[in-house]
């Protein structure tokens, strides 16, 4: 059934349909609407779940780690400073191999205080062992949350479903809310591989001396390496039941493209328009929408970008002293790929600044007119400098 839904509530609906049993979160704009709806579902009996109120995001993650360790399907959501505060426990969740799903609404970090869209918060957590999936619209958010549970519970790794502040979290769109019977068919009840049991007490996560620590970490990576494959299987089943699929990356007019623009999140929607406009003018341009950031789909990047003339990466984030983070990752993926094209890195739309059709067109023309990148990162749309 289609309903006009706010992006945040697309997340809430998916969590309801996933029959999550324990949720814990601390309010932070622009994430609050997600858990606000969930707390209402708990209060009015729509969901048979426990909502644990906590005093910080650190505790929220600790609470879902505890519940997940007991073999319970869990959910949390946060944003920006809240995610930063969770940092320590993000490691605990992944190395503890707990299939927690979290919605993370991309918001800029302070100071100066800024509640708007910026990807640096989630990308700063790239080394914590969480799977990261970036979404473009409300439908993709709802679908990805459902897929995230299948994926997480199969590989025993936590998943972060990432959506843009306001451009997605607070935008109303028609979203198809699937029936519970179909969702139940896609997502069976959680059967945990690790579950604390009071009738057979044991401890998890304690001391791991040098003779075992490396093996544990290697196992996390081994699981990560299988994510892409398992995600394809999950998507195939999702397609069979719901008739929708997204892919870890999406190619848009890439087959004959000379220049491919790499975008993420809601900017992909804008970019589709730009590509259509440029194509109508005869420009050989395509778009690669990157959905999966962790694990980084290196082979897909090499396949899709290895043969084009130029790559333009749009980063709504920045790693100080280096460059845009998606550009870094793409350069790293290509550097051992003989004859790879130059990677043009563009920084745009930080702290909620709009990435408009004109911004993206400017990026395209700059890339086309330059033989080589003038800099590792070109900042687009600056006002005073």
């Amino acid at each position: 059934m289609k309903e006009v839904l706010e992006g945040s509530h697309a997340v809430s609906q998916a969590v309801r349909l996933a029959k999550v049993q324990v949720m814990s979160a601390y309010p932070i704009t622009p994430q609050t609407h997600i858990v606000e709806a969930l707390s209402e579902y708990c209060a009015d009996g729509t969901m048979d779940a426990r909502f644990i109120c906590v005093e910080s995001e650190h505790s929220a993650m600790a609470a879902v780690i505890g519940a997940s360790s007991a073999g319970i399907r869990t959910f949390t959501a946060t944003s920006s400073q809240g995610l930063a505060l969770m940092h320590e426990l993000l490691h605990w969740a992944s190395a503890g191999r707990l299939p927690i799903v979290m919605a993370e609404v991309n918001r800029a970090l302070a100071p100066g205080w800024n509640i708007w869209m910026d990807q640096t918060d989630s990308l700063a957590q790239r080394d914590t062992g969480w799977i990261q999936l970036y979404c473009e619209d409300g439908q993709e958010v709802l679908d990805t949350v459902l897929q995230a549970y299948r994926l997480a519970e199969t590989v025993n790794l936590p998943v972060m479903v990432v959506l843009d502040a306001f451009f997605l979290s607070h935008t109303f769109e028609p979203v198809d809310i699937p029936g519970q019977d179909l969702v139940d068919r896609f997502l069976p009840p959680f059967s945990p591989k690790i579950a604390l049991d009071t009738s057979d007490p044991f401890a998890i996560g304690q001391m791991a001396p040098p003779n075992v620590y490396m093996e544990m970490r290697r196992d996390v990576q081994k699981a990560m390496e299988q994510v892409l494959d398992i995600f394809s299987g999950v998507e195939q089943e999702f397609l069979n039941i719901f008739g929708r699929t997204y892919g870890p990356v999406e190619r848009f007019y890439c087959d004959d493209a000379r220049i491919i623009m790499v975008v993420t999140g809601t900017a992909a929607g804008t970019c589709r328009q730009v590509i259509s406009d440029l194509r109508s003018k005869g420009e050989k341009v395509g778009m690669l929408k990157l959905k999966m950031f962790r694990p980084f789909p290196v082979n897909l990047i090499r396949e899709d970008l290895g043969r084009v003339q130029k790559i333009a990466v749009v980063d709504r984030n920045f790693s100080f002293g280096a460059s845009g983070i998606f550009a870094q990752e793409i350069r790293a993926a290509l550097c051992n790929h003989p004859g790879h094209p130059p990677v043009f890195g563009y920084i745009a739309g930080l702290g909620g600044r709009d990435v408009t059709v004109d911004t993206l067109a400017e990026i395209y023309w700059k890339t086309k007119e330059s033989d080589a990148p003038e800099d590792e990162s070109v900042w687009v749309g600056l006002v005073n400098c």
């Binding site: 191999r97 025993n156 591989k193 001391m207």
Partner: protein, 581 residues
């Protein structure tokens, strides 16, 4: 540690994590500790404010745990009059209730009334035992609330009691002074009958004389005089004899005499009796004006009663002092002196008033009632000749005599209220018991050891060495409550008669709460300072060092590392941290 591997899509997902079945009891984390948590019950502010020293948080705890008889017995341990006090007490407990810091005070009096009324309906049975007979008999003069309370506590302690009452039935001011719309007779009769079951003997229609008391000192092992104030104060103004006595009027109403109705009346005074007279007159269709020489805000009557009187149509003339009463034909004319405020009285917190110097006023009415206070009916009813051996206690006075002769109730109380009368009876009972067991010299210290918190109220539970009554005298303040456990919730409102119905009858104005509302209200109580077995300490302890054996929680000091989480998570300040010695 174990290696776990799971097949999925034909592939294995490696899942190597640290996991152990080895017990951690070898790791005695107690060695890290430099502070230790202890269970220490404290005193709730309501209990210290209650003249009868009732253990209010424990009453509400039992109530909301559906242990209704335990709730009743916890009240009856300290006060034989829950239904009466639930109605007529001015509930000082609620004025200091910590819950007011969050939203509104707990409706303690409504809950007390509910419990008392459930007992009156026979739904709850009191279970307080009598101690073995002591072979001593105490003479009590006056069967008002103080005398009855003294008889009740003394009987429970094993004394025989003979009570002498001048009027035809016991109850004193409760029966003869408080109108039916505040205290129905059936309520009073039930609670007096319950006291009688302890075996005390009440001789009604037996006014006593000074000679009787002198004789009683020979016949009894102790005498307690609590006959109240039998004589109304005089205004000492010309024409005063033409005014009716307010208390007499209330007595007549209680006896069933409907005094001849009059269309207008003036009531002179500002205490509870004056308000009771005025509101009773309104119920008989009289247009009533209350004349008070001070400001309305300084009336000794309970504020709520004054407000209801005004709602019911009583006109209040403040700052008017009567100087003369004359009769003109059928009418009385009261000459009034207008007063004005002039600074504050040093010790009573009210404004001093003096004549304003302006011209006199005249007030015409068909009937006049005075209710400006009362005093002992005879001089011998006060312990006039005080010696060094006279013991002036908070709620009674022990004269220098053997056998012990005590004065109490309104004769000695600074605040003349029903719970203060109960306090007086309790203090007298304890003092008499201490006198026999340890002698006169021990009374003050022993009573002090039974005080509730830092107030004057005495705990009979503490006196009789009841278990689990070892509350520390520290009073729990609002800052000690962990508000995370208490969502805001509005206070119970009792249903009241409509104004129309109120002024037309003597029916009781307020109703008793329903069971559902009463339970909900009892859950609002923080249970300040007492353990209600919420188990937070045990649930939150990261070392599982809080153990539960046969309902008792204990800290296993081998593992308690002194983190203090239990103390923080105790919602009601029944725990605290102590430095290791």
């Amino acid at each position: 540690m174990k290696m776990a591997q799971e097949p999925e899509n034909g592939k294995k997902i490696p899942l190597f994590i640290s996991r152990s079945h080895i017990l951690t009891d070898v790791n005695k984390t107690g060695s890290w500790r430099f502070v230790r948590p202890i269970y220490r019950e404290k005193t709730a502010p309501c209990s210290t404010a209650c003249p009868a020293g009732q253990d209010i948080p424990r009453i509400e705890m039992f109530f909301n745990q559906n242990q209704f008889e335990d709730a009743l017995n916890t009240i009856l341990f300290e006060n034989p009059f829950p239904s009466v006090c639930g109605r007529v007490c001015f509930h000082p407990c609620e004025r200091v209730c910590n819950r007011a810091g969050l939203d509104e005070p707990v409706a303690v009096h409504d809950l007390e009334r509910f419990i008392g009324d459930a007992a009156a309906r026979g739904e709850l049975k009191p279970g307080l035992k009598k101690l073995p007979a002591k072979g001593k008999t105490v003479c009590i003069i006056g069967a008002g609330p103080a005398g009855m309370a003294a008889g009740y506590f003394l009987s429970r302690m094993g004394y025989s009691c003979d009570i002498y009452e001048a009027r035809s039935e016991p109850g004193g001011i409760l029966r003869w002074g408080i109108p039916r719309y505040r205290l129905p007779e059936t309520v009073l009769t039930f609670e007096i009958d319950r006291i009688k079951q302890y075996g005390l003997k009440i001789s009604c229609n037996t006014p006593v004389t000074h000679d009787f008391v002198e004789d009683a000192k020979n016949r009894y092992q102790a005498v307690f005089i609590a006959c109240g104030h039998g004589r109304s104060l005089k205004m000492n103004i010309p024409g005063e004899h033409m005014a009716d006595d307010g208390l007499d009027y209330l007595n007549r109403l209680r006896k069933g005499d409907t005094a001849p109705s009059t269309t207008t009346a003036a009531v002179i005074g500002g205490g509870n009796t004056a308000i009771d007279v005025a509101r009773s007159l309104v119920r008989q269709g009289t247009k009533t004006t209350l004349i008070y020489r001070r400001q309305k805000q300084d009336m000794p009557a309970f504020k709520e009663e004054v407000e209801m009187a005004v709602e019911e149509g009583v006109t209040i003339m403040e700052l008017f002092s009567p100087v003369k009463i004359e009769k003109h034909d059928e009418e009385f004319v009261i000459s009034l002196q207008k007063m004005k405020t002039a600074g504050m009285e040093t010790d009573r917190g009210r404004s001093r008033v003096i004549p304003d110097g302006g011209p006199g006023h005249q007030f015409r009415t068909l009937k006049i009632f005075t209710a400006i206070g009362a005093e002992p009916a005879d001089p011998w009813l006060s312990p006039l000749q005080k010696t060094d051996a006279t013991l002036d206690l908070s709620h009674c006075t022990l004269a220098d005599s053997d056998p012990p002769l005590l004065y109490g109730g309104d004769l000695t109380n600074a605040i003349q209220s029903v719970p203060d009368a109960v306090a007086s009876g309790k203090q007298a009972a304890m003092a008499i018991d201490i006198f026999f067991k340890q002698g006169r010299h021990a009374i003050t210290d022993r009573l002090n050891s039974c005080r509730v918190g830092n107030g004057p109220a005495l705990s009979m539970a503490r006196y009789m060495g009841e278990k689990q009554r070892n509350r520390h005298e520290d009073v729990v303040s609002f800052e000690h409550i962990n508000l995370d456990y208490f969502p805001r919730e509005s206070r119970a409102e009792t249903k009241t008669l409509s104004l129309d119905d109120r002024v037309r009858s003597f029916d009781e104005i307020k109703t008793t709460l329903t069971i559902d509302r009463a339970l909900k209200e009892s859950r609002r109580c923080f249970n300040c300072g007492i353990c209600n077995a919420c188990d937070n300490c045990r649930i939150f302890c990261p070392e599982i060092a809080v153990t539960l054996h046969a309902g008792e929680r204990q800290i296993d000091l081998d593992y308690c590392k002194g983190c203090g989480i239990c103390v923080v998570e105790c919602p009601r300040s029944a725990m605290e941290l102590q430095e290791e010695g």
